[in-house]
């Protein structure tokens, strides 16, 4: 279709859709006056039932833990697929120049910047671990913390000229991390069955609300999700960075 025809078609449809949406949205409870039964119940019972003070994380890893498992595997599938997508293209050209591992002043990057980047990796990882493990207490959890952990690699890449350290890439450490994270979630779920309960039951001791090791399996699930997310996002970013480094073929 020609551009103008397509745009015209869309605009007409969009006007109709807008009217429909307004009609439907008008049926929602007024903004700020929502009293959904699930949410209200959860706000009241979570601390008592799960000894977790962050209700959202408890919902994610306990009440609706299956959703999180699916979500985790979405990230898993995306990173695996992305690696296949981008790697295939590098393999069919000549060997790209070996990564120097960032030892020298790569591509004329500012050495001070590179130094700061390398030195910030550790604090970022500590922050990431903190966010992952304190999810059941304060805002945070596996997903958020995992992204923070991955950002350590992103910072390194940005400041040192875009080459992932060889040690990480060569031995498939990131893929292994992903596999452990994804598989770990399923294993913990199955462990619930072996504990005589259901899949993804919270069978570990609940501890006291507010303490670090509370709410049973929530922290363990949060940890494996953190590992998986860190591995997947680091892998995705590393692949994009590698792709950007290698010279293009063009057509």
């Amino acid at each position: 279709m020609r551009r103008r025809a397509r745009t015209a078609l869309f605009l007409v449809a969009a006007v109709v859709l807008a009217a429909v949406l307004v009609d439907g949205l008008a049926g929602l409870p007024a903004f700020g006056h929502f009293h959904g039964v699930d949410g209200r119940t959860l706000d009241h019972v979570t601390v008592r039932q799960r000894h977790a003070t962050d209700v959202v994380t408890a919902v994610n890893f306990d009440y609706r833990g299956l959703d999180t498992m699916g979500e985790e595997f979405i990230l898993f599938a995306s990173s695996v697929g992305l690696v296949v997508l981008l790697r295939e293209q590098r393999a069919d050209r000549q060997q790209c120049p070996d990564d120097a591992g960032g030892a020298s002043g790569d591509d004329g990057r500012d050495p001070l910047l590179a130094l700061v980047g390398r030195w910030s990796v550790a604090p970022i990882i500590v922050l990431g671990v903190y966010v992952v493990t304190h999810g059941q207490l304060t805002p945070g959890g596996g997903f958020q913390g995992g992204v923070v952990l991955a950002s350590a690699l992103i910072t390194l890449l940005i400041t040192t000229g875009g080459r992932t350290p060889r040690t990480i890439r060569r031995h498939g450490a990131l893929e292994a991390l992903e596999g452990i994270g994804a598989g770990g979630y399923v294993v913990i779920g199955v462990a619930g069955i072996f504990a005589g309960l259901q899949f993804l039951s919270n069978f570990l001791p609940l501890g006291t609300a507010g303490a670090l090791f509370s709410s049973g399996t929530v922290i363990s699930l949060s940890t494996v999700v953190g590992l998986e997310v860190a591995g997947a996002i680091a892998l995705i970013v590393a692949e994009f960075a590698e792709h950007g480094q290698t010279p293009g073929v063009g057509s």
Binding site: A13, G36, V37, D62, G70, A77, E88, G172, V187, S201
Partner: protein, 611 residues
Amino acid sequence: MTTNVVPLTVAVPMLGAAVLAGTQPLRRRLLAEGIALAAAIAATVLGALVLRLAIHRGELVYWFGGWRPHHGVALGIAFAVDPFAAGLATFCGLLTIAALVFSWRHFDSVGHAFPALVLVFQAALTGFCLSGDLFDMFVFFELMTVVAIALTAYRSDQRAPLQGALNFGISNAIGGFLVLFGIALLYGRTGALNLAQIGVALRAAHGHGGALVVVAFGLIASGFFVKAAIIPFHFWLADAYTTAPTPVCILFAGVMSEMGLYGLARVYWTVFAGPLAPHAATVRLILVIIGSLTALGGGVMCVLQHLPKRLLAFATIGSMGLFLVGFGLLDAGGLAGAAVYVVADGLVKAGLFVCIGILQHRRSDTGSLRVRGLGRGLPFTGLVFAVGALGMTAMPGFGTFLGRSLIETAASAAPGYGWVPYVMTVAEALIGGSVLAAWARLFLGWGPDERHEWLAPESAEAGDELELSSRRTPAVLFVPALVLVLGGIATGVLPGVGRLAISGAARFVDSSAFATAVLRGHAAAVAAPASSGPSIAEVLVGLGLTALAALVGLGVIAPRRLPFGPPALQNLSRGAARRLHQLHGGHPGDDVAWVVTGAAVVCGTLVLALR
């Protein structure tokens, strides 16, 4: 046997995928394929066990994390497994096994990524079938989409799969957003995500809940229609299914598109059937009309196709139209017919795709312009393909015929829908005839010399294919094709298939029995209407339809030999054909514009008609 097998149907393939990813550095092909096949077979066996449990108990409800509902409030996620759900999940497992076995020989090197993705796909399909929670269904739906994008673009060293994957991803992502919008609306109204709980809450409110419920239904239907490739949401499908690797097409055409309709049926019968009951007649009309248009449109596009995989892609669209008609009749009979049709059609199409894979294995590629006679010298493959083509015409003896006759019985029973069987007949003749024509073109070398300007230059799976060789077709490729096509026959001749389908459908459409089973924990017995097999008259009509399809096939393959048609008509039809091809030009913006148009039409019609 505890009910804990239910979550394992999803957990086992996921665990297998994780193990495959973790062992990636080992790069052992045999290990990868072994793990993948073991996981797929285990999950399918578990699925069969769950099916037996479900048939025995009627409705099997599994609460994850042990979060049982209190006072009708369900905080946790449930799998609500009735025989249909379990049957569909097992069917997904069977096709996954076929796809994995087929991929051994199809690719030169498989690596760990492909089987891992296929396993995650199986888990997503299974989870989507079994889930009784609206947002959980959405999560598995998105998982399906993401894995499918990755699988479509698997051969990223070629250009065509990139376009296919792009269109696939963009259209299906938007479909997902439409569904999510609808889910948000429902949550805003009821505060719940459990299907049964939402249904009960909506039924409690008087009237049909106002525009919100209607709009939510429209949005969710539109989103699922994108996945199910209902016209006009369908433009992404042909590109994606043509360029995806053939083992993946088995899963896509066999079961993934059908998931779109399954999702709509599940959500309709548990959530919307209650509030929309006073308007059921209008909803029925809208759904049946959309289905009929899709079936006919798919059939017409089939006639215009010469590339085998693209032909099967449009055949899928046509079939989806027929399934939608079956579901759209909004009763157990039509649904039962659609279910049988889905399974039989999926098996037959999977078999046809494997045959195409055999052709690819032996020759250079089937995307090239030289399709004619590609299969000469492959008599057994040709035989299997021919049988499969007959299955696509819904010939008596195949499960497709049984499905169709069930739908036609339901349509005849519904007042004012007597025209439906005729529409179905025309659509099936077009689809089946085109597949028969493809068989003649591929294996007999019939048909005019191809010089179609608007067809793509060589694209599709070269590269990994081995060169032209006259080796024997490996059993690993041939046996799945044979088994799949025979499965299509089995669903038609095995006794009790129709009866099982109708009793399963009766349970599927019973919203109150569902709500009781999920929220209160006991599954009531559901009465199933009596069913009888197709009558002699129907069989004769069915054979006549097959003959009609053969005639259509002849018309497709040898337009100059048929006596009718003045030159003016021929020019007109050629011009129309060119327009239709241009319409399916594969621009993502076009696809999305049509999706939005479709959503506007569906939602707008519903809102206006259901005031």
